[in-house]
Subunit: 213 residues, 2 copies
């Protein structure tokens, strides 16, 4: 299935966007699409789209283009969505609760198994049928349950400690919302969501724009 090793991060980061646009077209009963048409919607060049897709296979057909349903299925598979992932959230504060409440991720196959927090007021509370546990149980819970992805939503100061517990109990992927760069072994995958950095990019651009005037 894999055609090309070492897919560049630039390509990988575009895949979810293909997935989203194809899903949308599928919902609108679009049967087929050419790289040129897709280019106009998604904003990548037609050439780039063909290059990107060809990293993974010959999904198109000359003179026809791409079958939307088939391509969607392929991209879903490439993104790893043909299986399910068991997740835990650590930190039931603002962001932790927000993520826990998102039904969007369930539909993609990410199953929230438990939530952990240190605050006694939160422990025992339920978010969509998942009970918030004492963070002291985290290590034990991980030993008894296979977890694919740990979602870190604790304050900056505690993030590395939580990460260490996850890693030492075999969790291989971390979705990190704490504004810190975690230190982990090479075989652990980290995906950061640094909201402040996103906001500062916005203020940079807004300011740059205003200076030009």
């Amino acid at each position: 299935m894999e055609r090309k090793r070492n897919i560049s991060m630039a390509v990988i980061k575009r895949l979810p966007k293909y997935h989203r646009y194809l899903r949308e077209m599928l919902n609108n009963d679009v049967d087929r699409i050419s790289s040129k048409e897709l280019s106009e919607k998604i904003g990548f060049t037609a050439s780039q789209i063909r290059q990107d897709l060809n990293c993974f296979g010959d999904f198109g057909q000359q003179g026809y283009g791409y079958n939307v349903k088939d391509l969607y299925t392929q991209i879903s598979g490439i993104l790893g969505l043909s299986r399910e992932y068991k997740t835990v959230i650590i930190g039931a504060g603002n962001i932790g609760q927000a993520i826990a409440n998102y039904t969007r991720f369930d539909k993609l196959g990410f199953e929230l198994q438990s939530i952990f927090d240190a605050n006694p007021k939160l422990i025992g509370m339920r978010i969509r049928d998942v009970e918030i546990q004492d963070i002291d149980n985290l290590s034990n819970f991980l030993k008894r349950n296979h977890i694919d992805i740990g979602i870190i939503c604790v304050p900056r100061i505690n993030a590395q400690r939580v990460s260490d517990v996850l890693v030492s109990n075999g969790v291989k992927a971390i979705w990190n919302f704490a504004p810190v760069d975690l230190n982990t072994p090479e075989d652990v995958i980290i995906e950061n969501v640094h909201l402040s950095e996103s906001l500062l990019t916005l203020s940079y651009l807004l300011n740059e724009r205003e200076e030009e005037e």
Copy 2:
């Protein structure tokens, strides 16, 4: 002050990370740092760090390196943090409330002026002294108050409509959490936080890693 026009997006996206590391060093009473030392902490090459900083000015000194406090101040200014920004949040659901509760952004100079939602159960509620208003008041509110940044936290289906209201009332920057690419005039700045895309990047990488084994 500006040395070089057309700073590339690659450089811009690294600036907030410099800002974060410098803040941390400042808190740890570090006085000066060389590009080589910073490189070891932040993970960019020393060469890249010097190139990046030189887009904006000669902040270093041969034989000495960079003064942490000065550089922090410079980067803060470049990121537009020497002024304040008035913001509104539209959508008081999971993400909207989480963002409203973040005190981190206040400290950087982002002042939440109001929150809007369509849900009667939420209207009138207060989040940290800010009252949730009926979304029908949004347009009027924007006409009476200058707002720098609109933060869109409504469901996908309503995001474009909200964006249109913001834009037609002169809002020039949008921080968008809805999983959709907004259609806006060229002079409006959009910064997207697409959480699903981030999660799918993670599942891609996790899957790729497991295939190799």
